[in-house]
Amino acid sequence: MAIELIIQQFLNALGLGIMYALIAVGFTLFFGVIEVVNFAHGEVFMLGAFVALLSVGLITSIGLTMGSLPFFLAILILVLLAGGIFGVLLEKFIVRPMRSAPDIMTLLITLGVSIVMREAVMLFVPNGRNPQPFPKLFEMESIKIGGVLIKPETILCIILSAVLISGLYYIIEKTTFGRYIRATAQDREAAMMMGINVKKIFIITLALGSALGAVAGMMNGLSYGIIKFNMGFAAGIKGFAAAVVGGLGNVYGAIAGGMLLGFLEIFVVSTIPDGSSYQDLISFVIVILCLVFRPAGIFGERAYEKV
C-alpha cells in the first residue's frame, strides 16, 4: 500500500478512535463513580451534534462570522453546556430516584430515556427524520504533508480531543475536586465520612462525562459533514464497547479501548474487500470476544485503580 494511503488511513483511524474514546470516557466515569451504566449516553452524542447544528443561527445572529475561531469556540461552549445540563437533569430525575433499584432497572430506564430522546429529535427537529447536512463550523486550509492531502476537520478533531482529554486528566489527577471524584470512586462510604458531598460529585461526574460525549457528537458532525437522529445508537454501543474493552471504570483504559476500536475498524474497512459492510460488526465481535476471554478488559489487572 502506498505510504500516502497509510498516513491518510492512520489519521482517519486516529480521528475515529479518539471520538470513541471521548464517549467511552463518559461510560467509564459513570460506572467508576456512580456505578451506573448510562445507556442514554449515546444520545448525548447525538444531542451534541444537533445542538451544534441548531445553534449556528443563534451564534451568527449575535454577530460572529461563520467559520471564525470565536464562532467555533462559542458553539463548542454551547455544546459543552448542553451536555453538562443534560447530565445534571439525568442525575436529578432519572439516576437519583433509581439509586435503590436493582441494576437492571437503572439500565432499562436509561434505555427508555435514550428512546425518548432519539424519537423526540426525529419528530420535533424540522425535517429531523432525514440526515441533516452539518455546516463547516471552522474554516481551515487543507494541509499537505509530503503530497498527502489531509482533511482539516480530522486534524481539528484530533487536536480538540487531545485538549479535552488532557483537561480531564488535569481535573482528575491534579485538582482537589478530582481527588474527591477519585475518592468517591474508590469507596463511597469512606468518602462521605471524610466530608465529601457525594451527591454533588455524582452530579458533576454526570455533567462532565455528558459534556465530553456531546463534543464527540459535534466532532462526528464536523468530520463526516452529516448527522442523523439515530447516530447516537451505534456511537453509544461502540463507546460502551470501548469502555468495556479497556476495563469499565478505568479512564485510561477507555481511551486505549476507543483507539483500539477505531484502528481495528479502519484496518478492516481498508484491507478486507467489501469490508465496509461489516464495519459495525467488528466492534461487536471484539467486545463479545473480550467479554468472554478477558471480562475485566485489557487493563483488567489494574481494575482496582478506578478513575
Binding site: M98, D103, I104, L107, L111, F284, V285, V287
Partner: protein, 384 residues
C-alpha cells in the same frame, strides 16, 4: 365462579366497546373514564378487589379456560373485521414473545435486549424451509422454535461469563449481528429485499391464506391465523406457567436474586442459564415462524432493535416475572396505539415514555409478580 365469569365478561364488553368506538375524542374520553374508574375502584373498592384477586388466584385454571373460551368468540363479536383481527394476531404474537422474554429476563434475570433476533431466526427458518426446501409449515414451525433455541444457547455461552450491564451489551450486539448477517448473506436470506411469497400453511387441506366460511358469516384469512395464534398463545402460557411454578422456576428465581448464593445451594448455573435462554428463545422463534407465514413477506428491518425494545416495554409495563403481566402488557401496548393511528409517528416514543414512567413510579408493573406461598404437603409439616 360466577364472579370470574362476570368480571371477565365485563372486561370483554369494555374491550368490544373500545374496538367499536371510532372517534378519537370518544376514545380518549373512554380511556380517561377507564383510568378514573380504575382509581376509584382502587380507593373505595379495596375489599372487592382483594376478593376478586383471591378468587382469581385460587381458580387460575378456570380463569384461563374461561378467558380462552371468550377469546374464541372474538372474531364473531367484531364481525370478522379483518383489520382488527390482524391487530389481535399481532397482539398474540407479541404476547408469545413477551412471555418468552419474561421467562428469560423476568424470571431468570438474564437481561436480553436482542430478543427480536430470535423472532427473526424463527421467521427466516420458516421462510427458507417452506420456500427453498418445500417443507410443510407444520414441520417448519417447531424447527423454527428449535433453531431459535439453538441460537439462544449460542448467545447464552458468552452470557455464562458476563452479567448485568455486560450482558445487556452482548445481547444488543447479538441482535445487531443477526440483523447484519441477514442483510449480508444475500444468497440465503435475500438481503435487503428479504423473502417474498412465503406460502400460507394448509390445515388438513384447507389453505389458511383463503377466506373462511362459517356458514352464516365469512371471514378473511386473518381469522384462520387468529385461531392458530390463540392456540399457540394458550400453549405458551400453560407451558411457561408450569415451568415457572416448578422447582426449575424457583431455581431460576434464586439465580436472579443472587448467583453466588444460588451456586452455594448447589445449583448448576451453567445449565440453568443455558436452559433459560433456550426456553425463552424458543417462543420468540415460534412467534417469528407464525409471523412469516401470516404476512408472507419478511425483511431484516422488521426485526430491528426497536422491536426488542417494544417487547421489553411490554414486560416492564406488566411487571417483570409476572405471566399475567406480560399478557396484559402485550395487550395494552399493541391494541391501544391502534386507536391513535394519527399519531403513528409517536409510537416508539410512547414506548420509551412507558418504560421511563413505569420504572420511576410503578416499578412492579400493573400486575406485579406474587410471591409464591409455600404449602407443606402434609398437614402437620412445618412451613419452610
Amino acid at each position: 365462579m360466577i364472579k370470574i365469569l362476570l368480571t371477565e365478561l365485563l372486561c370483554y364488553l369494555l374491550f368490544l366497546v373500545f374496538v367499536y368506538i371510532e372517534d378519537p375524542v370518544m376514545v380518549t374520553a373512554f380511556i380517561a373514564l377507564m383510568i378514573i374508574a380504575g382509581f376509584m375502584l382502587k380507593k373505595t373498592g379495596r375489599n372487592f378487589l382483594q376478593e376478586i384477586e383471591k378468587v382469581y388466584a385460587e381458580n387460575l385454571g378456570k380463569v384461563g379456560l374461561l378467558a380462552a373460551a371468550i377469546a374464541l368468540t372474538v372474531p364473531f363479536a367484531i364481525m370478522g373485521d379483518s383489520y382488527w383481527l390482524q391487530i389481535l394476531n399481532f397482539m398474540m404474537l407479541n404476547a408469545i414473545m413477551a412471555l418468552g422474554l419474561n421467562f428469560m429476563t423476568g424470571r431468570a434475570g438474564l437481561i436480553c435486549l436482542g430478543y427480536a433476533a430470535f423472532m427473526a431466526i424463527g421467521a427466516y427458518t420458516v421462510g427458507i424451509l417452506t420456500l427453498k426446501a418445500g417443507i410443510s409449515f407444520w414441520i417448519a414451525l417447531p424447527l423454527a422454535g428449535i433453531f431459535a433455541s439453538l441460537f439462544g444457547v449460542i448467545l447464552g455461552l458468552p452470557a455464562l461469563r458476563v452479567k448485568g450491564h455486560y450482558l445487556a451489551l452482548v445481547t444488543i450486539a447479538f441482535g445487531l449481528i443477526v440483523q447484519e448477517l441477514l442483510l449480508n448473506l444475500e444468497s440465503i436470506t435475500g438481503g435487503t429485499n428479504g423473502l417474498i411469497d412465503i406460502s400460507s400453511p394448509s390445515f388438513f387441506g384447507i389453505d389458511m391464506g383463503t377466506t373462511v366460511n362459517f356458514g352464516f358469516m365469512s371471514m378473511t384469512y386473518q381469522a384462520n391465523f387468529y385461531y392458530l395464534c390463540l392456540v399457540l398463545l394458550v400453549i405458551t402460557t400453560v407451558v411457561l406457567y408450569r415451568f415457572s411454578n416448578s422447582l426449575f422456576g424457583l431455581a431460576l428465581n434464586a439465580m436472579r436474586e443472587d448467583q453466588l448464593a444460588a451456586q452455594c445451594y448447589g445449583l448448576n448455573l451453567t445449565n440453568y442459564k443455558l436452559l433459560a435462554f433456550a426456553i425463552g428463545a424458543f417462543f420468540g422463534g415460534i412467534a417469528g415462524g407464525v409471523y412469516a407465514a401470516m404476512i408472507n413477506f419478511i425483511a431484516p428491518e422488521n426485526f430491528g432493535y426497536s422491536l426488542s425494545i417494544i417487547v421489553i416495554s411490554m414486560i416492564i409495563l406488566g411487571g417483570l416475572d409476572s405471566i399475567p403481566g406480560a399478557l396484559v402488557g402485550a395487550f395494552f401496548l399493541t391494541v391501544f396505539p391502534e386507536k391513535f393511528r394519527a399519531f403513528e409517528d409517536y409510537r416508539v416514543m410512547f414506548y420509551g415514555i412507558i418504560i421511563v414512567l413505569c420504572l420511576l413510579f410503578m416499578r412492579e408493573g400493573v400486575l406485579p409478580f406474587k410471591h409464591r406461598i409455600f404449602k407443606p404437603k402434609t398437614a402437620g409439616g412445618e412451613g419452610n
